[in-house]
Amino acid sequence: MDSKRRMIKKILQQLGNRLLDAKEQANETVLHIDKKDLPEVCQYLYQEQESRLFTIVGNDERQINGMFVLYYVFAFDKIQYFITVKLCLEESDPTFPSLAAYMPAFNWYEREVNDLLGLRALGHPNRSPLIFHGDQMEAVYPLRKDYIETSMLHCENEVDHFVEYTGTDVTEIPVGPIHAGIIEPGHFRFGAVGDTVLHLDTRLFYTHRGIEKKLEGKTLEQAMFLIERICCVCNVSHAVAFAQAVETAANITIPRRAAYIRTLYLELERLYNHVGDVGNICAGYGFAVGNSQGARMRELLLRLNEELTGHRYLRGVIALGGVQQDIRKDEIDRITNHLNELDPDFQDLADILLNHEIAVDRMETTGQLSLQQVTELEAVGVAARASGRDIDCRRDLPYAAYNQLNFAVIVQEEGDVLARIKVRILEVFNSILLIRQILQDLPEGDIITGIPKIEPYKTSLGWTESARGENCHWLMFGQDNKIYRYRIRSAAYSNWPAVAVAVPGNIIPDFPLINKSFELCYSCCDR
């Protein structure tokens, strides 16, 4: 506690003359600064203080204070605290200095606020739109409050913003957005010299459903349904992140039993994802045995989920202020028995995979990411840990019941596909151990508490570590416990830029393998 105070005091002193206002709430300090000071303040917080970028939120607050507002949220893992830099932009001059050239992690965020809110980052090295494909004919900004949803947004002049190759030796290979398998849409444009990829351009956001806009004005109960549907395979982690954001703002703690049951569902979600993903990676080099064994174990876990909660993907189990469904004694035995069977079964699969020469040969040194690359791109989750970036918000920023459980964070150094699969395999065993601990220590008591009225225009943060990495939800309340603005930064959003960096230098047939080793979700990213 003391070191936390000291650190905050030091930061406030250092930035003293630049601050217009500083406000403390729950677990963060909001620093209001002028936009000309943004580069120095961010550089200080980000580089000198070694914080990491949590999320950037653009908000239309013209109804409240006549300004557009940008929030840069930095996480300080050491003291488990957040510092938010708040920036007000006049409607007449909606521009702010870009930092993407110095800190690559800012790239997507700055382009997104330009597309959806019309706030322009001056000096951004890449002015091409991120969400809209091509240039818009008229300035329509969907996230502004005065936007009226009438029809489809037209991008009449669809221009490719891919790298242009001038040499004759480079072959351009377009792949997608419609793929051969049942996967989500994404367009990949390879520039290849012979078999080797020289450069990869990705175009995502084909499944942008405007969930953030749809959530505005919804009550918290209605919002839960939409948030569970951001992504099918991370829906518990999204729902928990939302619930935690609301609980932090309402300043309530959920019953201990509810926290444990939440952790149980979160780990069950991680378990079926990781087991399935390990199998899926095998499909990247046509190793059918691994693929079908992974799929079989995943299916068994999904059936277990259905038995426990009534939904194969655990939808509808999380409630605001607790959980919807309690767990009975016989169900605890059922889970224990299942895990006892899964443990040796999955160990067999891991042994087969890691002792298979051809499999290991395909995975080794494929799609390498260095520690510097993942740190600068702010990659999270498995992708980051496989490259030696030691972050896991279950340990760093504990939520639910994670601070009462013992577990290790698995870190590998190599950063290739093999390292990522190893992290997944070890995390499966970790999850099994965690679930056993939870079932052993499951306390008795209530499973839900009520949510009081929350004061309008309060902001709050919620986060979880999903199977893909850290999800972060930022939320501003409106009148009558309704949502004013919601921002979802999923793990996939942070990790997609890293895929484009991992691929060049590898041969084209390795791309599906590299892509699968990240196992990123398109719908989480597109929202």
Binding site: F225, V289, E307, G310, H311, G316, D348, L349, D351, I352
Partner: protein, 108 residues
């Protein structure tokens, strides 16, 4: 190689015939709507997050095409008018078969 064959042999065939019996007990399936007197229809309709349950003058209409089977209406309902089954087979031949319409005050 040998361990691979051993695993395949041990596991055997795992695919199953499609089960036509109802799903597991906790499964939240098709909502049944049977008109009953003194049901708090307004509250049930307000609880529906997708607008699948509606009132049209004296008719209560449930459109299975919009229903996400969350069971909120069932929890709030004060009579047995709305119940949740474990039935997971909702496919019909024509879209109009997904509309269920009952009289508000019908006695059964």
């Amino acid at each position: 190689m040998f361990d691979m064959l051993k695993k395949i042999w041990q596991v055997g065939t795992v695919t199953k015939k499609q089960p036509f019996e109802p799903a597991s007990k906790k499964y939240r399936g098709k909502i049944e709507l049977i008109a009953q007197k003194n049901t708090n229809w307004e509250d049930c309709i307000a609880a529906c997050p997708t607008g699948a349950l509606r009132m049209n003058v004296n008719k209560i209409r449930l459109f299975h095409g919009n229903c996400i089977q969350c069971g909120n209406c069932v929890k709030i309902c004060n009579t047995e008018a709305l119940t949740q089954t474990t039935d997971c087979y909702l496919a019909v031949n024509a879209k109009k078969d997904l509309f269920i319409s009952v009289d508000k005050n019908e006695v059964k």
